[in-house]
Every structure is written in C-alpha cells, then in structure tokens.
Symmetry: C2
Subunit: 155 residues, 2 copies
DNA sequence: TTTTGTGCAAATTGTTTGCAACACG
DNA sequence: CGTGTTGCAAACAATTTGCACAAAA
C-alpha cells in the first residue's frame, strides 16, 4: 500500500509542525486520492467536505507548500491552467497531455528511462519524472489532424 | 537561414489580416531572437523599442495568438511563471529546466526521438517536442544534492 | 468607408502575503 | 502560555475581454 494520511501527519509532527483540522483533512485527501490530478482548488473542496468546516484556499496552499518542502509532494503545471499535485511516492508515471482535447494519459516511468539515462549521462541533468509532462496530440486528435492535412496541401 | 519577419508578415497578409506597426514590430522581435526564451512581456518591451511607440500588452497577446493559430508560434510554460514563446520553425530543441537554480539547457530533439517514437507506437500519442520541458536538476545542483545526502542519513 | 486592430481599463484566474484572532502542544 | 496556523482581505502576476476610437485595405 501507499502512503497513508498518518504518514504525512507524522512527518509534520516530526518537523514539530502542528496538526490542525485543516492539515489533517488535506493530508487525508492527498493520501486517499491516488493517481488523480488535483488542483489546489480540488483539494480545498474535498478537504472541506471531509473536515466539515471551512478551509481557506490560502491554508491549502500553505499546507501544500509545507508538504512539498518536506519532500512528500510535488506539483506540475500540466497545461496552461492551475498546477496539479501528487504525492511524491505515487509519481511513478508520466503524463501525456493532449493539447487539443486536454485529456491526459499516464504512462509508466520505465518507458522514459532510456532517454532520461541518456540525458543524464550526456548533460549531467537528472530529470525528475514527476515534474514534467509530454504535450502533444492523443490518438483520436492526431488521427483527425491527419485527415485534415490531406485536403490542405502545405500551409 | 530561418524565418524572417517578412515571412510572418506575409503569412498574416495571406490570411487577410492587417499589417500594423505593432504586428510588424512583434514579428520583427520574434524573427530576430532565435533560440531565446521570451515571455510575452519581454516581447512587448523589445517590440516597443523597435516600434518606438507604445504597444499594449494585450496587443502583444493578441498578435501572439494569431501567429500561434497560424502555426508559426508555440508557447510553453517552462517553470511556474509566465509562458515563453518560440517560432515553431526554430523549435528543434528541448528544454531541460533545473528546478533548483532555474537555469535551462537545450538539447537537440533527436536525443528524445527514441522515446517519443515508443510513446507514439504504444499509445498513439504524438508528442510535440516544442511543447514541453524536462524538469530536474542540472549537473551542479545535482552534485550538490549528492553531497548533502552524504551527511544527512535519511530525513 | 468598411472592417479589423489598438489602447485602455476592468475582469479573471491562480497564487501569495500581511495581520489579528485562534488553537495546538 | 507561547508560537505556529488560520481566515480574511488585499496584493500580485499572467492573461483575457469589452468597448470606443484609430487605422489598414
């Protein structure tokens, strides 16, 4: 099993940070939403439901910051909108984001290993899987795009 | 040689769009700033100097939109800040952005070809090189990071 | 002269910050 | 109790939009 809310909570405790209702709820949301792409607003909404008290957006950002500093969380800006958050532990996949329809697919990180290794050996650059997205066209969109270019000879 | 400002201008003309001072200046900036990562604000500032008249930020965004629609331009959100713009033609490279120091390195797209091919064949996903960035740690930062973890046994 | 494009100001969205009241430890 | 946290409101940054006026074609 993956990280549980308590793991995050005790991480906070270990850093002598305080355990509050808001934080508990946020950790809960993060721990129970594996593999989802949640924005800070999504997280706030779910945390509110769980905590059954108002939780301010700024509190959410602050808590996410803390967890990110502790290394338990990462966030990425997939498209052009809000960033999405992931528990670090669960980021064993990579995102393929379709720039036409916005859908996103996940692929296991292993797929990318070869290039990442090349990049590291050649440029000394250590890529962090979680932290980027491949943008392009998903299958249906790319198919549609091909059809179009058939009757549209060269720009 | 690469795309010249006139190429962009005539593309506009061909779409029966109007050639204005602002657009001319913006095209000029784009065409003469190969390989640079310019934000919309950078572009506005340079365009103003060239045109020697005030050009509004919204005008810049609108013009960039037009050029992007015509397929001459792309933009990416590298880090968490403003997006950066590139003439499509010149985007034969990929960005490695260091999340610690913010520096960014470019690598030729060929480096990535193998994975991109795999991704396409396996998921039908056509990645667009220009449109994403690899985030990670550059050599110096990653070296520093290793040192740290030597005398810092497990969190 | 008829569109189309521009500047300006105001709206939006995502995120950050200052500060007084509050609650965890 | 004392310091870390919260909510709220206000500040910010990036981008978008409405509209009357200016300027291409």
């Amino acid at each position: 099993m993956h990280l549980a809310a308590e793991d995050l909570i005790s991480a906070l405790r270990q850093s002598s940070l305080r355990i509050t209702k808001a934080r508990r709820a946020i950790c809960d949301v993060l721990a129970t939403s594996h593999e989802e792409h949640m924005s800070a607003v999504d997280i706030r909404d779910r945390a509110r439901k769980r905590a059954k008290v108002g939780i301010d957006q700024s509190t959410v950002y602050r808590t996410l910051d803390v967890l990110e500093d502790l290394g338990y969380l990462h966030h990425v800006h997939l498209g052009h909108g809000a960033g999405v958050y992931h528990l670090t532990e669960e980021s064993d996949h990579q995102h393929l984001v379709c720039e036409r329809c916005g859908r996103s697919v996940e692929i296991p990180l292993d797929e990318l290993e070869p290039v990442l290794a090349t990049v590291t050996s050649r440029y000394g650059f250590v890529a962090q899987g979680v932290h980027f997205a491949l943008v392009g066209l998903c299958e249906p969109c790319s198919a549609r795009s091909n059809e179009e270019s058939m009757n549209d000879p060269g720009e």
